[in-house]
């Protein structure tokens, strides 16, 4: 490593850092990872509660939401249409930008990349710290929108213009402005983070850690970082224009001044589709990491896994139009977007088959991380398949803007990204915090979550095809929807239970944090570098950075007496000499 002595000295100086430099303005990638994790989990509570509010309104329209009486005083807790719009808008915004991205890309990006590559830290520790605090500020700005007069943004997480561009249309003034500012700030923060990740992956790998010896989760985070770097600036430019339209009186998206509302949709989805892969790619990497460990087999098709992620990264730029099939588009263009969208399912399918190939014939142990990873794979398949439905224009014209889309979103983002996040939390908890989680509570969290997740979101396919539009205030207003209202009630009950199922997770998390069993260095007998550092790692490794001798998934290797051959373990002398003759 090109670790100059001065840098090393700076690191060993860590012991003397005060409280603030250790826990708050820390430049240590592991502490920053924990900070991102706590931020994401906290925001998840808010986002989840907003979702339950939305569900309550859909099941029992215009009845008082329990617990909201104190907040919505004028209506005694009954949601008004404007409040309802605000709730679903902020639910999606928070979940996407402040839960999934901070946990998957922020926390696990920070934690895994240096530790799994054998680096002492990120390429730019200071920039890393700045990136967290910028994102944190963005989160604060986003939350502050709840307290301004006029309420928070209410034009959907997609904020289509001109609804979002003219304050009078939604009656929201500063809420939407703060939404724009927050996402702008978040864009800057994620740019810092992604540049850091990319540079670290390219330049900071330990000796012997070739690109194609990197664990797949690092591959996925690397590609995610590239997507982040190139996609988010487009949103950043879009929200800047939107903010100028709202505050300075420009007319980018306002037809009255020669602007073009459809332009927003193009900018948004040009960012938006890569964004959904930003949400899912790290989870794909996490699953690729966990499956081999718990079935003691090498990953099936390592190179295919890496290349299919690269293919997804390329293709995700040319499919964005599938979000705009009914927005007014040249039919030929719609046709091409339909074809590219179907093509992008191919690399996803390659990955799925490789996961199945990994499982095939493995000695599977159903530990909690593994269960969550398996849930990821199976739920992603359902979400991917509904994606194919919607990719075909004739079908999408019918189901667009219905609950079918909502079902799709949640199968990929909850079933995919959030289960991936849970898997990662359970899997890396011993390394993150030095303690094991409680397996009983883990099961108590997983099984109800998996069950109620499906009970919540699967029926949405049915009511979606039955015609229920998304983002409607009161389904009972439409005669043709009344006959399926029982589904809405059912879904809301399931959603409430899904929310309750998270309690064991919270208990488990905090209990294990303070009182969990002390974690050994390599509790899962895994092969990747982070398990060669003490738990929790300090300065990552002692005096010497490990050297990498092989690929990351040597499980049940015939070369080793154990059933795994860690990347850092020096090969026995005889074997390579023999092999070199070929």
């Amino acid at each position: 490593m090109k670790q100059n002595p001065k840098r090393r000295a700076g690191h060993t100086g860590h012991h003397e850092l005060g409280f603030v430099r250790t826990y708050i303005f820390s430049q240590d990638h592991k502490m920053i990872a924990r900070q991102f994790l706590f931020m994401g989990l906290f925001m998840m509570i808010i986002g989840g509660l907003l979702a339950l509010i939305v569900r309550w309104q859909l099941a029992w329209p215009e009845t008082a939401v329990p617990g909201l009486g104190g907040i919505l005083k004028e209506t005694n807790g009954i949601l008004e249409p404007s409040t309802y719009n605000m709730a679903f808008t902020m639910h999606a915004t928070i979940m996407i930008f402040f839960v999934v991205m901070p946990i998957l890309a922020g926390c696990f990006g920070n934690f895994c990349i240096p530790l799994m590559l054998g680096a002492r830290d990120m390429a730019f520790p200071f920039l890393n710290m700045l990136s967290f605090w910028t994102t944190f500020t963005a989160g604060l700005i986003m939350l502050s929108g709840f307290f301004v007069p006029g309420g928070h943004a209410a034009a959907g997480w997609t904020s289509y213009a001109p609804l979002s561009a003219v304050p009078e249309y939604t009656g929201v003034n500063w809420g939407q402005n703060l939404w724009c500012i927050s996402l702008f700030v978040m864009g800057v923060g994620s740019m810092m983070g992604s540049i850091n990740y990319i540079t670290t992956v390219i330049n900071m790998r330990a000796p012997g850690m070739k690109l194609f010896r990197m664990p797949l989760v690092v591959w996925s985070l690397f590609i995610t970082a590239i997507l982040l770097l190139l996609a988010l600036p487009v949103l950043t430019s879009g929200v800047a224009m939107l903010l100028f339209d709202r505050t300075l009186g420009t007319s980018w998206f306002k037809p009255s001044g020669g602007g073009e509302p459809l332009l927003w949709q193009h900018l948004f989805w040009y960012f938006g589709h890569p964004e959904v892969y930003i949400l899912i790619l790290p989870a794909m990497g996490i699953a690729s990491e966990i499956l081999p460990v718990f079935c003691r087999k090498p990953i099936f098709g390592y190179h295919a896994m890496a290349f299919s992620m690269i293919a997804i990264a390329f293709l995700s730029w040319v499919v964005y139009g599938h979000h705009m099939f009914v927005s007014g588009m040249n039919p030929a263009l719609g046709m091409s977007f339909m074809v590219t969208t179907m093509i992008i399912a191919v690399p996803s399918a390659i990955k799925t088959f490789n996961w199945l190939g990994t499982l095939w014939g493995g000695r599977i142990t159903f530990k909690v991380p593994m269960l969550n990873a398996l849930a990821f794979v199976s739920m992603f398949v359902i979400g991917g398949l509904s994606g194919i439905f919607m990719a075909s224009t004739p079908v999408d014209i019918y189901i667009q803007d219905t609950y079918f889309i909502v079902a799709h979103i949640h199968y990929v983002v909850f079933g995919g990204s959030i289960f991936g996040a849970f898997a990662a939390i359970y899997y890396w908890f011993p390394k993150l915090f030095g303690r094991m989680t409680n397996p009983f509570l883990g099961h108590l969290h997983f099984w109800p979550t998996f069950l109620f997740f499906n009970l919540t979101f699967f029926p949405m396919h049915i009511i979606g095809v039955g015609g229920q539009m998304r983002r409607i205030y009161n389904p009972m207003q439409y005669e043709f929807l009344q006959h399926q209202q029982h589904w809405n009630v059912f879904i809301t009950y399931s959603a409430l239970l899904l929310g309750l199922s998270q309690i064991p997770f919270v208990i488990n998390f905090f209990w294990s944090l303070f009182a969990g069993q002390k974690a050994p260095m390599n509790p899962w007998n895994a092969t990747t570098l982070e398990w060669s550092a003490p738990s929790p790692p300090h300065l990552n490794w002692g005096a010497r950075i490990p050297t990498v001798y092989r690929g990351p998934y040597e499980y049940s290797s015939p070369e080793s007496q154990e059933d795994f051959l860690p990347q850092w373990q020096q090969p026995s002398v005889a074997a390579p000499a023999e092999r070199r003759r070929h």
Partner: protein, 228 residues
């Protein structure tokens, strides 16, 4: 000797077909994902230092950011029936053209500064950096003056798509020039303190790359917004 090698039977592998988990291991070398058989890890030498690499990626992101703005500009401009709108003031093509040359020459000075760095002439480095920065400041000042005049003529951000696109694009570029100037000032300070004489020079080189990017962006915007 060579003949003997050919005749020699291929080295026999240990028959290691141990069945585990009902999984038959592939013939060695097992590739659980990896680079094949070569096993001697060697220290890697990165082809670019961290700072310059990161700057290149920063530029990648910036290109997407400006790409969004420029594409949006063209969408509005092409949709407009007449451009520029007849009742709006024209943009100062001539002055800005000269200003473009000012900015471009600052880039030349920047190249000179990096050359001087390579030739180990610290005084020259500081002088050229300072001049490059000064030209950047001149550029900004002229831009600001022209803006003030345009506002006086009645072109504002709210004068339809014409004003909106003009002020947004040019303003965003101006903010970037300002940011690059701050960076340049920091580098200049380091250079004046002699930091680059013995220490690593990546900071200065990275700043130079970013400066060239900001400068190179300008002619594109000039042609798109002023000339077309």
């Amino acid at each position: 000797m060579a003949f003997a090698t050919v005749l020699e039977a291929p080295p026999r592998r240990r028959p290691v077909v141990r069945r585990r988990n009902g999984y038959l291991p592939p013939p060695p070398p097992p590739t659980g994902g990896g680079d094949g058989p070569e096993r001697d890890p060697e220290p890697r030498r990165p082809f670019l230092d961290n700072a310059r690499l990161a700057t290149l990626f920063l530029i990648g992101g910036e290109i997407m950011f400006f790409g969004g703005l420029v594409v949006a500009f063209f969408v509005l401009r092409i949709a407009a029936p007449v451009w520029p709108p007849p009742d709006q003031p024209r943009l100062p093509v001539g002055v800005t053209g000269v200003n473009t040359l000012v900015l471009l020459s600052s880039s030349v000075l920047m190249i000179g500064a990096v050359r001087a760095l390579a030739r180990k002439q610290p005084g020259e480095v500081v002088r050229r950096l300072a001049w490059a920065g000064a030209l950047g400041l001149v550029f900004l000042a002229v831009q600001g003056y022209e803006w003030a005049r345009l506002v006086g003529f009645g072109l504002t951000v709210s004068s339809g798509a014409y004003g909106a696109t003009f002020y947004t694009l040019i303003g965003v570029h101006g903010v970037h020039v300002l940011g690059a100037l701050v960076w340049l000032a920091v580098v200049l300070m380091h250079a004046a303190l002699g930091r680059y004489a013995d220490g690593p020079t990546a900071g200065l080189r990275a700043c130079a790359i970013y400066w060239h990017f900001i400068v190179a962006l300008w002619p594109i915007l000039y042609v798109a917004v002023y000339l077309l």
